[in-house]
Symmetry: C2
Subunit: 212 residues, 2 copies
DNA sequence: AAAATATAGATATCAAAATATCTATAAAGA
DNA sequence: TCTTTATAGATATTTTGATATCTATATTTT
């Protein structure tokens, strides 16, 4: 056996399930539950108990033998793993239908995200505030990013505009882009792009519908 | 060798990539391109050529040796596979920020979906039209579903209301629910639920950010 | 005409993820 | 006290998906 400890890699799929667990654990905590077993969680999530067990073990969730996982402690390790124990300042580019909806979503505070600014090019939007977030003109992007030292961008612009704005964001030192535009962005190594595309989910649904 | 032909199973991941291919093929078609190779597509999508090749082969995309896949023919097979070659009537329940944004998204016409009605409980929304879609009171759900023979529901209500409405939908004969509420719905076998959860994507992004 | 090349097509290998099985133990019940 | 049981913990197996390699061939180049 090696004397080196290999840091256990946590799979992407596990990471994607963590928010779901977190939501349930928040509820349990609010109801005063201190322990919950993987079998109980399995009913709630419709996942297999063993999937949940392995997911929680992999982030180091504390447990009590024969009793389940500790609610408060598990919340703490998941939040810490995701960095959701303190808020990251972020901003949004493109105040269209989707962008406005995201600005109105107050759940981000539970997800480590605080949207502190928005950007758009339409004169009737610039200068106003939407859901308490001020809308700047896109031309001011670089300045605001630098002044506020922002690292995370939420991109909700039309496909045609996405790459151009991305180049501006990268030049301004942005480290992560959450991309809702239906294009693949080209960025230098080191910049993280997380693509979101609901048409994938719709395709999955339609494929299931057809094969019945 | 068996005399039975085993219908090749198409993987979920392949299905989720199909809309992306379709978008690119629409563009190519608009520009008059008749053939495109997997290597060319790989640059555009940032996927490996072999992934694309296998994906397209698995839905039976027509090709020409040494030249690539046929643009028009590939569009046809993908659309057919997903059932996007003709419109499915759908409706939306919950005209909040997200629901309104989805109503305003006109791209659904390219995705085999036509939203013909919306439902909400707020008196100031009921009776109006939003983006050309009439908003009914949720109490009228069963009636409208039956009258219009609707099969696909888009659920954008708060978590607390989701299961109750789902029960109504199921009782009214709905076959598929595209669920944007952050809960796991319980439905009888045969009803398809496709869950959409952007917090998974955010978790992925945050995990990547932390591990740099 | 001959050689080189880029491609789909087919098959094989590898990696990731899900699932199953086994073990030890603390708690509950007889 | 003894037995049963539900659980986390650990390991093994299976399945799924991604990646690599090889082949045949139409096209292009020489």
């Amino acid at each position: 056996m090696s004397i080196f400890h290999h840091k256990k890699e946590i799979s992407v799929q596990t990471i994607r399930r963590l928010p779901q667990y977190l939501r349930i654990f928040y509820n349990l905590h609010a109801y005063g539950r201190e322990l919950v077993s993987s079998t109980a969680l399995a009913e709630e999530t419709q996942l297999l108990p063993i999937v949940i067990k392995k997911d929680l073990q992999s982030v180091g969730a504390p447990s009590k033998l024969r009793a389940g996982f500790k609610v408060a402690g598990t919340i703490a390790v998941i939040e810490k793993f995701l960095g959701w124990n303190n808020l990251n300042k972020a901003f949004l580019v493109g105040v269209g239908h989707l962008g406005a909806a995201l600005l109105g979503f107050d759940g981000f505070k539970n997800h480590g995200l605080e949207i502190v600014a928005a950007f758009d090019t339409h004169p009737e939007k610039v200068g106003n505030a939407l859901h308490g977030v001020r809308v700047y003109h896109t031309a001011q992007l670089a300045g605001v990013i630098e002044k506020e030292n922002l690292k995370i961008a939420i991109l909700t612009v039309p496909a045609a505009a996405a790459q151009g704005i991305t180049d501006t964001l990268v030049a301004a030192g942005i480290k992560a882009i959450w991309n809702f535009a239906p294009v693949n962005l080209t960025v230098p190594a080191g910049v993280i792009v997380q693509k979101e595309d609901i048409s994938s989910g719709l395709a999955e649904l339609c494929a299931k519908l057809k094969s019945r």
